[in-house]
């Protein structure tokens, strides 16, 4: 039944929020809500980019490095010309990500290197490039203009809760992605390809084109997330910016119901997955669980999502 997974996620989300607020009413404190809401945009944008890759039966492990390289690049750009209008910064980030994603796509689609290996390689290559480009120096908060960082701490205020402009940008991109996934021919081709690559080929869908587009999309959205990173944190360190991010992104997409076997999934599910992960993140802090537990939680969630998918596939097959 379509939408079953999404409804399930919504239920889990509501239950989680309810349980946490019951255990620790402080969970609903505006500060915490703002925390969740600040997490979302970067995760959402990058996850929306990773979505087509996984639907097409691939994976992009280099997302974090693309975010870092893009953050640094945009930071350098804004350092060089501080009067650049903010929208240009987002476009610049997207372009950097596009080039990097295109490289991934070429290696995977044309070089026939398996996605796992290719993106592990580019993960480090891009990180190294980040150091080259930044000459090892951090981009300091002094270099980042207010016009950018204000996107993160200003927005529409409901009481003490701020729905930041950054979140709006994230929403808009997610909504655009939603429409794209429904309405664009080549996006529908990605679903077809993920569902049955051989049949897709026989029906005239080129595997190379599909893969290239997917990794370009993943890269450019990760690049936009890089600009968002700058806005959110106000600085960028070549070593730590975006490090380990890909894991959270893949976790969000996996929870969001994109099947391991490819060919199905929805942006709505991805959105809910992001929301769930963000809530879990803040919930951990509120419940007094150390930030040190985060990695464990991410690993466990991906594993649980995988197992649930695997079991439900098995049940479907024997039904």
């Amino acid at each position: 039944m379509k939408g079953k997974r999404e409804i399930g996620l919504l239920v889990v989300l509501v239950v989680l929020i309810a349980a946490c607020s019951f255990a620790k009413p402080i969970f609903l404190d505006p500060r915490n809500i703002n925390s969740i809401l600040l997490w979302m945009p970067l995760l959402l944008v990058a996850a929306v980019g990773q979505f087509p890759v996984i639907v097409a039966r691939g994976i992009d492990i280099s997302t974090g490095s693309i975010v870092g390289l893009s953050a640094i690049s945009v930071g350098l750009l804004v350092k060089a010309s501080p009067t650049i209008p903010v929208p240009m910064l987002f476009i610049a980030g997207g372009m950097v990500g596009l080039i990097l994603g295109c490289l991934n796509g070429l290696i995977i689609a044309f070089g026939k290197v398996p996605a796992v290996v290719a993106t592990i390689g580019t993960l480090t290559a891009f990180r190294g490039l980040t150091f080259v480009v930044s000459k090892g120096d951090q981009i300091d908060s002094t270099a980042i203009p207010q016009s950018l960082t204000s996107l993160a701490n200003q927005g529409i205020n409901i009481g003490n809760v701020t729905i930041s402009w950054l979140l709006f940008i994230g929403f808009v991109l997610a909504i655009l992605a939603f429409f794209a996934s429904n309405r664009l021919q080549f996006y529908r081709n990605i679903f077809a390809f993920g569902s049955n690559p051989d049949a897709a080929f026989l029906r005239g869908i080129s595997p190379k084109t599909v893969e290239l587009i997917c990794y370009c999309a993943s890269g450019s959205l990760a690049g936009v997330a890089g600009t968002m990173y700058l806005a959110r944190f106000g600085f960028a360190n070549p070593g730590s910016a975006g490090q380990g991010f890909e894991l959270i992104v893949i976790a969000a997409v996996a929870i969001g119901g994109v099947k391991i076997t490819g060919g199905s999934g929805s942006i709505v599910g991805v959105f809910l997955g992001c929301a769930l992960l963000s809530c879990i993140n803040v919930a951990l802090t509120v419940l007094g669980i150390d930030a040190d537990w985060q990695l464990l939680v991410y690993g466990a969630t991906i594993l649980i999502a995988l197992i649930i998918d695997s079991v439900s596939q098995r049940r479907k097959a024997t039904a």
Partner: protein, 318 residues
């Protein structure tokens, strides 16, 4: 390619010659030998990974298992703990972590790259949750393996070579090895032929876990402390070693000699870079590029040799 091990062998000679020429600090044989202590730990991981990749799988969690094992051993032993208990602990934990991977993949019927991506986070995350920012002290009896050597050869290096020998024999001279090659070449045919596909696959992961246990002991012994954020990037090194040694990423092809030679190659590349004070991040980048290039050139070589076979033009969908 008749003897694919020739490639890492030749490249090693070239690399050594290159660095010998350009860096005076490189020309210290004692240093070169002593430095293998650290890289031997990576080598042990690569040995196990060779089995896993030949059987058609991959293990991204080797570094995380290493860290978790080393932390558990350091944390739950003290100076009074007899050495053999610590050793046993490390070996059992390592093997257990590897077996869990194997079970999830075979019984759980999950793809190895996703499973080990998850356990990569899970294991290191467990270490982080357990340790926090603190370091755990390694018990005294375990420490200091890097301070002594056997006729000039560091013990870790010797252990690495012995392990490579033993596991190499398992791979090339024992039944398990044949099963792994068969499974990596054609899993269906392996099943039809009566190969114990699940058992063999789990064994590859268990052996790797065992080797990780050894590696954890070496790391604990060398550093004297265990932390959750050590050995970052070690899985990249290990996978690169295996692939650059001629093992096909898709499975079914590879040799232990190739892995050992490749270990030597990457060792000299890294040492050369280090001696020239190349930043750690750049070193990682170079390794990443080597990884991609190795797989890429394998694919080209493959396509080159099988391209002649096709006269009739049945459309092949990938």
């Amino acid at each position: 390619m008749k003897r694919p091990e020739l490639i890492p062998a030749i490249l090693t000679i070239l690399v050594v010659a290159f660095f010998w020429k350009i860096s005076p600090d490189f020309r210290d044989v004692n240093y070169l030998l002593a430095n293998t202590t650290i890289f031997a730990e990576t080598g042990l991981l690569a040995i196990g990974l060779t089995l896993i990749i030949i059987s058609g799988n991959i293990d991204l969690s080797v570094g995380s298992s290493l860290v978790l094992t080393s932390c558990l051993v350091a944390k739950f032993t003290n100076d009074g703990t007899p050495i053999f208990v610590s050793v046993l602990m490390a070996l059992i934990i390592g093997t257990l972590l590897g077996t869990i991977n194997g079970l999830l993949i075979t019984v759980g019927k999950l793809p190895s790259f996703l499973v080990t991506l998850a356990t990569m986070a899970l294991y290191r995350g467990a270490a982080q949750a357990m340790m926090g920012p603190a370091s755990a002290k390694v018990p005294q009896p375990l420490k200091g393996i890097d301070r002594s050597d056997f006729h000039g050869l560091p013990y870790p290096f010797i252990i690495f070579v012995i392990c490579a020998l033993i596991v190499g024999l398992i791979l090339h001279r024992m039944i398990l090895g044949r099963w792994l090659f068969g499974i990596g070449t054609n899993k269906e045919a392996a099943h039809y032929t009566g190969f114990p596909v699940n058992r063999a696959t789990i064994s590859a992961f268990a052996i790797t876990g065992f080797l990780i246990g050894i590696s954890a002991l070496l790391m604990d012994s060398r550093l004297g402390v265990a932390r959750h954020d050590l050995a970052k990037g070690i899985e990249l090194d290990a996978i690169t070693i295996v692939v650059a040694g001629g093992t096909a990423i898709a499975g079914g092809k590879g040799t232990m000699i190739g892995t050992v030679l490749s270990w030597l190659l990457i060792y000299f590349v890294k040492t050369g870079m280090g001696v020239n004070n190349l930043k750690a991040e750049y070193q990682l980048t170079i390794i990443g590029i080597i990884l991609v290039l190795s797989v890429f050139s394998q694919q080209i070589a493959d396509r080159f040799s099988t391209n002649r076979q096709r006269k009739t033009t049945k459309i092949e969908a990938r």
